[in-house]
């Protein structure tokens, strides 16, 4: 009797808990369905997910500008550690979090969230505004629908050390092919041991070879046939064998920092993304380096017309559960607009909106190079998405990266490495 009584009590307690749980769930569900506050002049607090707020000045610049233009809206950043950002946002969205604006750090995550139906459809907004000058928008096209609008577009170009080039009497040809690049890099290499100056520095990321190659040859990184990488590997491997770039094995095992490589004045040329501009401006401002630098367009395949490079956009999206959807949309639109672009240009970040005025404003920043070639580098004719998005992206990325390492450390010949990419992607992923 006693035990049964106890059991009854326990059962009741469990029931009570379950009821409370169900109740809170229903309440949460109700909350997410709440309509906008009717009063348009009422104060609204808009929450936005960001990463490393203190070290990513573009967010503050953008928020300040937006709040100034919309005094009734206050922005509350939700700061997340950059390395944990994708996992954290995935968990938040899965858990029914109601943060209004979600920053899309990369296109891969965007495709996940949009396919899970966690983002608000922004197609109408995209259709109703002039997006012809908004670079990187195509990456967010999901079967004709858009769930995010890019505000930032980084792309790759060539950084060079003016002092080293002047000393060697080298002038970068225009347009520059990869053959020219190889020749100049070899010419600029000098010295031995600790004093060695390298003609170029290739960072260890596979994109340095593979994404460039895909963008400029039109090859498909998800296709399963990677013969189109061959020419670019010949460039990278040729320079490495000639001792004109820091050896891949060393760079990888020493976890070489590309900033140090360039800012120490020991590297004459370096293909890298535009995000580094704000970094190098800051380093010079602080006096951490005295390197005289310039920008040039990415070298091209022989016979190419125009400048093709690769890059990746960053965008804002509206959470489907947002309670302030209109204000959130307003913010997304603002970030992609001229006003938003001007705000982030001031901190050295490359906006997605590309107009001559913005470029002018960008090069007006203190410390920017002033020559024509640098400005030209800033307006590539075509920016291809660094890595196309599909359900296979992550698996293929891993394979391409592993084989890239094997080719670059000299464990496999270029042909063998590419053959093994083809085989592995076909048998392990696409089959």
């Amino acid at each position: 009797m006693i035990t049964s009584g106890k059991g009854g009590a326990r059962r009741q307690a469990v029931k009570g808990l379950a009821l409370a749980g169900a109740l809170s769930l229903t309440l949460a569900a109700c909350g997410s369905g709440d309509p906008e506050p009717a009063d348009p002049n009422g104060k609204i607090t808009l929450s936005v997910t960001v990463w490393n707020l203190a070290k990513t000045p573009e967010f503050k610049a953008l928020f300040d500008a937006f709040q100034q233009a919309n005094p009734n809206i206050t922005i509350k950043p939700v700061d997340i550690l950059a390395d944990d950002y994708p996992e954290k946002v995935t968990t938040m969205l899965a858990g029914g979090d109601k943060t209004d604006v979600i920053t899309m750090k990369n296109v891969t995550d965007y495709s996940r969230y949009s396919s899970r139906n966690q983002l608000l459809d922004l197609t109408d907004m995209v259709k109703s505004t002039d997006t012809s000058k908004l670079a990187g928008l195509d990456a967010f096209d999901v079967g004709g629908k858009y769930y995010a609008l890019p505000y930032r577009q980084d792309f790759w170009l060539l950084y060079y050390n003016k002092t080293l080039l002047d000393k060697a009497g080298v002038k970068l040809p225009e347009p520059m092919t990869w053959d020219d690049y190889v020749k100049i890099a070899k010419q600029l290499t000098s010295g031995e041991g600790g004093d060695k100056v390298y003609g170029a520095y290739h960072h260890t990321w596979r994109s340095v070879v593979q994404a460039v190659s895909a963008a400029q040859t039109g090859g498909d990184q998800l296709g399963g046939d990677y013969t189109f990488f061959t020419d670019q590997y010949n460039v990278a491997k040729g320079l490495q064998d000639a001792g004109a770039v820091l050896d891949f094995g060393t760079a990888k095992s020493q976890q070489a920092d590309y900033r140090t490589q360039f800012e120490s004045g020991k590297t004459a040329m370096m293909p890298m993304g535009t995000w580094y501009i704000s970094g190098i401006l800051e380093a010079k401002e602080k006096g951490a380096t005295d390197v005289e630098w310039g920008l040039a367009p990415m070298p091209q395949r022989p016979g190419a017309t125009g400048v093709t490079t690769f890059g990746s956009p960053t965008a804002f999206a509206v959470n489907k559960r947002s309670e302030h959807a209109d204000a959130a949309k307003k913010f997304v639109e603002f970030a992609a607009s001229k006003a938003g672009a001007e705000a982030i240009t001031k901190v050295g970040v490359v906006p997605a909106l590309q107009t001559p005025e913005i470029t002018e404003a960008y090069f007006g920043l203190k410390g920017m190079p002033e020559d024509e070639l640098s400005k030209k580098a800033f307006e590539p004719d075509k920016v291809v998405l660094e890595m196309p998005v599909s359900e296979h992206t992550s698996d293929i990325d891993t394979i391409l990266n592993e084989e890239h390492e094997l080719i670059m450390v000299g464990d496999k010949s270029i042909a063998d490495g590419i053959r093994s990419m083809n085989e592995r992607v076909k048998s392990e992923v696409l089959n």
């Binding site: 006693i2 094995g249 060393t250 020493q254 094997l406 450390v409 464990d411």
Partner: protein, 307 residues
């Protein structure tokens, strides 16, 4: 009610019964704080991981029962085969080498020599040094072009020294060397403790019988250390099979897949790809391997101690 139930029983029974109940309750209350922690943070997650191996779950959608599908996929997955081979390679290098070096160090430092405390501390130091620091510094030493190790090898006349972490053949040996260096101090301490338990009389008797240093080591030291060796061996085996941290920091599985190990594959598939079911299946296989090896070691030990 209690009284009503117990009334028909013999008069001596109720207190004893009550006492035994109370004893049980008291006993439980003593282990409860610990047991709740164990159940909540060890037992439940372990059982959940076991169940997950038979599910398809990406941490946000509803888990789906897939039976043995994860294991079939495992069987076909090249990455798993590579990781398994690499893990066995690592274990085959790490276990005997660490054992030998730790035993050697313990025997050397068991003597009454000057500054023995200092040397013992020095040998133990790598074990309490931050692993990331250890990995970064060893990576510098192993630098194929400008590292001290290769400069030394070149100085003594080896014209083509290994490229260590920058080559698929030498990356794993480099990791093994680093891990032996790091772990030797800990196992040395265990062996030192084992050596203290060997009675001096055995050595004296052996010496009287005319046994040399080598014979004394072989016939007195080693047999007396068997319990310690067994413990060290089991610990080393478990440690070797679940190696992850050192490899992640030193090579991250590279170059290519040459140092990819099972624990890393578990992490990659689970945390990075969000395939928790598949990842749990790999973890389960890893667990079974370690279990089999450990049970074998226990059996062997039993047989030897009875013979």
């Amino acid at each position: 009610m209690t009284q009503a139930m117990t009334r028909p029983l013999p008069p001596a029974a109720p207190p004893r019964r009550r006492r035994s109940w109370r004893n049980i309750l008291v006993g439980w209350s003593f282990i409860l704080p610990n047991f709740i922690g164990f159940a909540l943070f060890t037992l439940v997650p372990m059982l959940a991981a076991f169940a997950l191996a038979f599910l398809d779950w990406d941490s946000y959608s509803t888990p789906e029962w897939v039976g043995l599908e994860n294991f079939e996929r495992l069987w076909r997955d090249q990455n798993f085969h590579v990781a398994l081979r690499n893990t066995l390679f690592y274990a085959a290098g790490h276990i005997p080498l660490t054992l030998a070096v730790a035993l050697g160090l313990a025997i050397v430092l068991d003597r009454k020599i000057r500054g023995v405390q200092f040397f013992r501390t020095a040998a133990f130091f790598p074990y309490i040094t931050s692993l990331v620091a250890v990995a970064v510094v060893w990576n510098m030493l192993f630098n194929p072009t400008a590292g001290p190790i290769n400069q030394f090898l070149e100085a003594i006349g080896i014209s083509d020294p290994p490229r260590w972490v920058a080559s698929t053949d030498w990356a794993m040996p480099a990791v093994i060397i680093t891990s032996v260096w790091r772990d030797m101090g800990y196992y040395m301490v265990l062996y030192l403790a084992g050596l203290q338990t060997i009675p001096r009389e055995y050595y004296e008797a052996a010496r009287v019988d005319g046994a040399g240093a080598w014979q004394r080591f072989w016939n007195v030291t080693l047999p007396c250390l068997r319990p310690t060796t067994f413990f060290v061996l089991v610990m080393l085996t478990i440690q070797s099979f679940k190696v992850l941290d050192l490899i992640v920091v030193m090579t991250d599985g590279g170059p290519g897949r040459s140092t990819l190990v099972l624990a890393q594959l578990v992490y990659r598939e689970g945390i990075r790809e969000g395939q928790f079911g598949y990842s749990s299946a790999i973890a389960l296989v890893l667990f079974l391997i370690v279990l089999t090896v450990t049970v074998l070691q226990f059996r062997l030990n039993e047989r030897r101690s009875t013979s």
